[in-house]
Symmetry: C3
């Protein structure tokens, strides 16, 4: 069984290596792939979006271990969850709520059986002391039922949906990638539901796009455009440049679509 | 067969994880090693230099997947190429042109057979939707001939060569590493051809080196020196410091050698 | 046998990939895990602390390859060392001195047998040309005795210990993590030896903590607190914020404990 890791520790953090060391000590042949460790510190929403975008690209049955855990050491639960064909270990703080929005979990177990944990559990690093050893034991074939007790439902965060009204769609910037592209919460489904045509125009930070294209190559360098991105969302981009830089845009900024 | 990945997505980008997820879904036992994901955005030349420097360190037969692809979604070709004992999947935009300069490719195939691709191909992320699944299928033993049609030749970028004249070598800074060392396009072969002796002096950004050494330890902290670096190129360095910082040097800056 | 890599090359550096390529060329089935590549350039102390904190989390017998090597190309030794249940390859410059402080090495060999090295050894990159191939050969079962000659003892760096006097503990900031937490050299053992109670107060950069908690969740957002961190050290933290940012603290800053 494949294991993946998503954290907010920062790529190259020794904390990531500590988790891998614990996993490999229990299951030396475990195969561990990094999803990302560059979730902004304690940004549960960002982690939830990455999980939604990437987790299901992995083989069925993959176990995704996610640690964005500002509540570590409090009474927040740590859970094992099955959602679709994939499995997850995470704090129950909303980190799985994008995935659970799309498809209800078929099984949730609260981790309470400490025999699967490290003998000594710190108060500040449950990723290493609880989730990593539990993940390794699961990958060795431990029955999830042995991990703890059934857990009724996951904490769900509110995710503002785009609004369609009066010939407009109001959405916002969900995240910004390394190229400075603004990924919005306006999906192709929303565009279709609103009957938006190919002549759509987006406005963000008081700047308006020049045209809507199928790929970057259909516009000229420097053009401010919209394009359907690789997650089936409307992206705002500057060809061969950075939309985030030009607009000084940030996550959460409002995006208005007209057509 | 080993797979490597080189992209400009940024280390820790979820886009990298998406490519790995696709590969592992098709070939769960695939072994994937990161070459680097820190190619500056859309900097084909930088990617080409890293491939030249590192790819052949890997075992013969390794398949290197390279994605620096500003033309994604246009008519630029995606190709499979065999160069020396190694194999490559990349957009045909010059990314393989340093390797191909040293040794002509023995086989080039343009990827046209969509049965090896993801069922749904986005217009903006062919790394995930075409190159990743093709790589996984190749690693499972698919015959390269089945991937598409023969492709005549690779796009070659112009790479300015150092000039030797009037007792001088004129070269430039090829890249700058994390230590602030300036790696030049002046190779040991060029130095030998020009008959340069051990008393060479380099000038860059109006600053002149103090001496040429065999290793950093032969100079004192703070000395501005030249040394033959690990890629058999002339490097300009400040011992225990940063040459790039002291000179405010940038990639492409002119370097003059006298002796 | 598992191999890990720790360097100061920077995550995503092609130099890291070059080392992996060399290892995999010699032992294609080698399993290599990154400890971290974000050791600040040439910061031997930082590397030594990470090794102490993380190396022993890995399975017994793991071979850790560490490259923070400002003296590359000088007469400094490269060594193979056995410390506890783990094995190490590193320059003998203090990089292993935190580990060796806790437990004396049971075996040290200076690498002198060049038949295990790359045929051509550069003067500036012994990580790639000596340590990587030696690691790969060890993982294939080569007897460590064949690597070179016995080496008497490791270079030890001085590590200032916290001082307990007059109802105070004087320590300092050992490192700062991504969350801005200040990890000190004051361990739980030191606190116990001094008889410090749960009402301890820490002062750093002229700012004093509000309270000592068992976990972040026991304090309010913005509180400046102390907590026993995941390495059994006293950490100074701002809940949901950055202590390093608020205090403008740096590694080495003095920390005073009263109670």
């Amino acid at each position: 069984m494949l294991l993946t890791l998503l954290t907010d520790f920062g790529t190259g953090s020794p904390y990531v290596a500590a988790m891998k060391g614990v996993m490999l000590s229990i299951h030396p042949a475990a195969v561990i792939v990094d999803l990302t460790h560059d979730v902004p510190p304690q940004d549960i929403r960002y982690g939830a979006l990455v999980l939604e975008d990437v987790a299901e690209r992995f083989p069925r049955g993959t176990l995704h271990v996610a640690v964005v855990d500002p509540g570590v050491g409090t009474s927040r639960a740590l859970v094992y969850a099955e959602i679709g064909d994939h499995r997850y270990l995470a704090p129950d703080n909303g980190l799985l709520s994008r995935l659970a929005l799309r498809q209800p979990p078929t099984r949730i177990i609260r981790l309470t059986e400490s025999r699967w944990w490290l003998p000594k559990v710190s108060a500040t690093f449950h990723g290493r002391d609880i989730l990593a050893p539990v993940a390794a034991h699961l990958s060795l074939g431990v029955d999830p039922a042995a991990l703890g007790v059934p857990h009724k439902e996951l904490v769900m965060l509110a995710w503002p949906q785009p609004r369609i009204a009066a010939g407009q769609i109001q959405g916002h910037v969900l995240w910004i990638d390394r190229f400075g592209n603004l990924i919005t919460n306006i999906t192709v489904e929303v565009l279709a539901a609103a009957g938006v045509g190919p002549n759509l125009v987006a406005t963000c930070c008081e700047k308006t796009t020049l045209r809507h294209v199928r790929s970057y190559g259909q516009a000229d360098a420097g053009d401010f455009i919209t394009v359907i991105g690789s997650s089936d969302r409307l992206d705002l981009a500057v060809v061969d440049g950075s939309a985030a830089g030009r607009l000084r845009a940030r996550i959460g900024d409002r995006v208005t679509i007209t057509w």
